[in-house]
Assembly symmetry: C2
Homo-oligomer: 478 residues x 2
């Protein structure tokens, strides 16, 4: 008879972690996990390899059963053929969860490998421990210092991410760190042999540390259960879903990647619509939506944008991008123009929408201009554009200095006051190392100060639209 | 009676350049032009300002008529009210062209300013000299060291760019430099008072230094003439057009920007289709299409892509992105898989499409794998994906070293041999300064070696599709 399954709560709070297949002579996943855990200062890391006494300054053990302390979680990067024997040792040691980075199971398309997977599951069920994967990068739980990558932010935050792809599971937190996103739990679950999307969505819906749920899914095993889990989760928290394998070629790749039986994309989309999950088409778009959700304390009800700070060409582009996504950039009313004229030096400036005024360069003018806009009843969203071209009103390299950026941020905050309106920043990704330095500094300082930052007008418009639409449906059903 | 107009050939080859309104006490457009010209080592730069004897190490003249040598081109950044008097001095000096950075003319919406523009045009016609703008950043002609920005590449190349926006005129060459694009002439023409899009397209169609014509246009004054110019140009060279102001908000911004009477977007699109001009929706997309045109010596006839080097998640995304743009990522034939198995170590690898094999990390394996693919009759385009995540097969920071990148490039070249197939590189824009360093190095080295490099799978697929479609129409009509 099978033992009672270990709960995900227990999986996410391991006391000791063993890393199997770690080596002194290469740098692959197992070694990177050890490095990542050392960086995170996880207190009990146990490398396992009979060939070594010490690895990366840590005592190395010949087998998992030789480790003195408790081992709750096991990270595995050894050949698939050795998996069953290892699981027997895990049973003896009494672990809670085993994560297989190892690939070459069900997703290989080879019958024997798929059968091997089922044998592994039997052993897990008999002993009660859980399997993460195989064919994935496993767990990142910043709250307990459990890490699998050293480019991710180690302070915890409100976003949970379940990802069938290991690459995406690492890229989302690492790519979004600078824009202020932080995570409660990130789970790469690969072939979903045991822990799967349904259990994870159920768990995150109830998890107190999670306010927003993000998911990268290639295929779901049970559409009805999935839809039910989504319904429960989306009723209490925003859920964002990136479905990989939307086309024939993508589905073929997904099948080779995680053996996913991808369902009809139309059915999948219909379920997301019905449950008011926000559907996105890539990791970058997922980051954009997460940024909009996390930093717009009051998601705007309307779609009327006031644009500030872009030059001519970018302003035209902005208008086009906004309208393409269903946002509006209406001309300023005469009353609003009058108000702006009273606070801004006007020579050579057009006080229309977009507000393309070189006079908005001083902190005082920013405060005054934003102040007028944040009080305007016919404006819902204020978009501030910051480029990094030498001919900006701020001069070359101005934004390299955090203190300079902070002055701009403070001026904007003063202008926003307690209006509760959304102030959203649009940047442009530069193509020089100098520009990149400015861009990263600006991203970081604005994010630290609680402002949503996007990498282009198009990205901004798309994310704001998704979030506004989501909010409308939610408000209508609450 | 009006004098004969100076030709654009003469405008593009000035012997001396005067910069009006340059100052020692600020850093604005006029000062940046002087810096840019000094960087470009233009031999005869004359700052003009009665307040100074010297500016930026150059002799400064009280007025343009005080300059001893010939002055063919004049860059103007003074108040609009002073324009007419300045043009009288230009007539006395016998200049060929006057570029007004100064704004506040027709685009301001004020009747007097629009009339002032017409007075300026009369003076130009009477004297024969040409006006560039007003309200623009003017000329960049690397071949004669004429520069207006110091982030642009100074070696000349085959691309001409006419841009109604000054920002775009500077951004295109500066953003695309690292990806190997070089320019014959870049003209920002703003309000198009005199020199306009029709004359420029006509000129570039005949210009021996120009092989590809790119245009950013907000509005055309004469649709029939424009269509005729486009027909002649597109018959001999690829023409790429980014039309700003496609939506109501965009049009409103365009009208405030360059006083453009934007025509119906449907008519504009129909003209582009009819003339086989490639229409794009932004500067980044324009760069992508230019990269595809410049570096695909043989534009592929078919749309069948073999993808190499991406991990699981990115492969799924790639399949989706390719198919969305009408490209195919077909499964490899049994014969092709056999050939790959003969040259690649296969343990743990899937030799399907995408070719997600960690064994393609050595130069030898790259040469062998690419060699097989470049010889495959059922593959038209080989896409190589390079990420910058620490867990790449190459290790952290590998791509910072130009020599390392060059080894990969050489291995690819050896694999491609004389197959004539397209090998296209997909990168991903990192979000750390370290990653950015790698990314810029990879961009640069691949571009220097003649390979098209794109910043994402989606960008790559979109650009390749545009260029393949363009080529099909061209081949059908030739």
């Amino acid at each position: 008879m099978d033992r009672q399954k270990i709960s995900l709560d227990e999986v996410f709070t391991p006391r000791g972690v063993a890393v199997i297949g770690v080596s002194n002579s290469r740098m692959a996943f197992a070694e990177l996990v050890v490095l990542a855990m050392q960086r995170a200062e996880f207190p009990a890391i146990y490398p396992v390899n009979p060939k070594y006494d010490e690895i990366m300054g840590l005592t190395c053990y010949p087998s998992i059963t030789d480790i003195p302390g408790p081992v709750d979680h096991v990270v595995v990067n050894i050949r698939a053929e050795l998996a069953l024997q290892l699981l027997d040792e895990c049973t003896v040691k009494g672990v809670r969860s085993v994560h297989f980075f190892t690939a070459g199971f069900g997703e290989s398309g080879v019958k024997e490998n798929a059968e091997l997977e089922q044998e592994m599951l039997k052993k897990a069920r008999a002993a009660g421990f859980r399997i993460i994967g195989p064919n994935c990068t496993g767990l990142f739980v910043p709250g307990v210092r459990l890490a699998n990558d050293f480019t991710v932010p180690l302070d915890a935050g409100p976003i949970a991410f379940l990802s069938q792809s290991g690459g995406h599971a690492q890229n989302l937190p690492s790519y979004s760190a600078n824009r202020g996103l932080r995570y409660s739990k990130v789970v790469s679950y690969g072939n979903a042999l045991d822990v799967n999307e349904i259990e994870l969505i159920d768990y995150f819906a109830k998890d107190d540390e999670t306010e927003i749920i993000a998911a990268y899914i290639e295929g779901v095993r049970d559409g009805v259960q999935f839809s039910a889990a989504l319904e429960k989760a989306a009723a209490v928290k925003p859920v964002i879903i990136y479905k990989g394998g939307r086309t024939e070629a993508g589905m073929r790749a997904a099948n080779g990647h995680t053996a996913s039986m991808t369902s009809s994309i139309d059915v999948f989309d219909a379920v997301c619509r019905q449950r008011n999950a926000i559907r996105v088409d890539g990791i970058e778009e997922m980051i954009d939506v997460l940024v909009a959700l996390k930093f717009c304390k009051n998601i705007p009800e309307g779609n009327r944008v006031a644009l500030v700070g872009a030059g001519g060409g970018p302003s035209v582009l902005a208008g086009d991008e906004m309208e393409k996504e269903g946002l509006k950039m209406p001309p300023f009313s005469a009353a609003l123009q009058d108000q702006l004229k009273q606070v801004l030096p006007v020579a050579g400036s057009i006080l229309s929408n977009p507000l393309d005024t070189p006079n908005m360069a001083s902190p005082e003018a920013i405060t005054a201009g934003i102040g007028v806009l944040s009080g305007a009843p016919d404006i819902d969203i204020i978009v501030y554009h910051l480029g990094f071209h030498p001919i900006s009103q701020w001069g070359i390299g101005f934004f390299k200095e955090r203190t300079q950026v902070q002055r701009i941020v403070d001026a904007m905050k003063a202008g926003m006051g307690s209006s509760g309106k959304a102030l959203v920043i649009a940047l442009r990704v530069p193509q020089t190392l100098e520009g990149m330095e400015e861009y990263l500094t600006v991203q970081e300082v604005f994010a630290e100060n609680g402002f949503p930052v996007f990498n282009s007008m198009g990205d901004l418009a798309r994310a704001m639209r998704r979030v506004i639409e989501w909010s409308h449906v939610r408000n209508a059903t609450v």
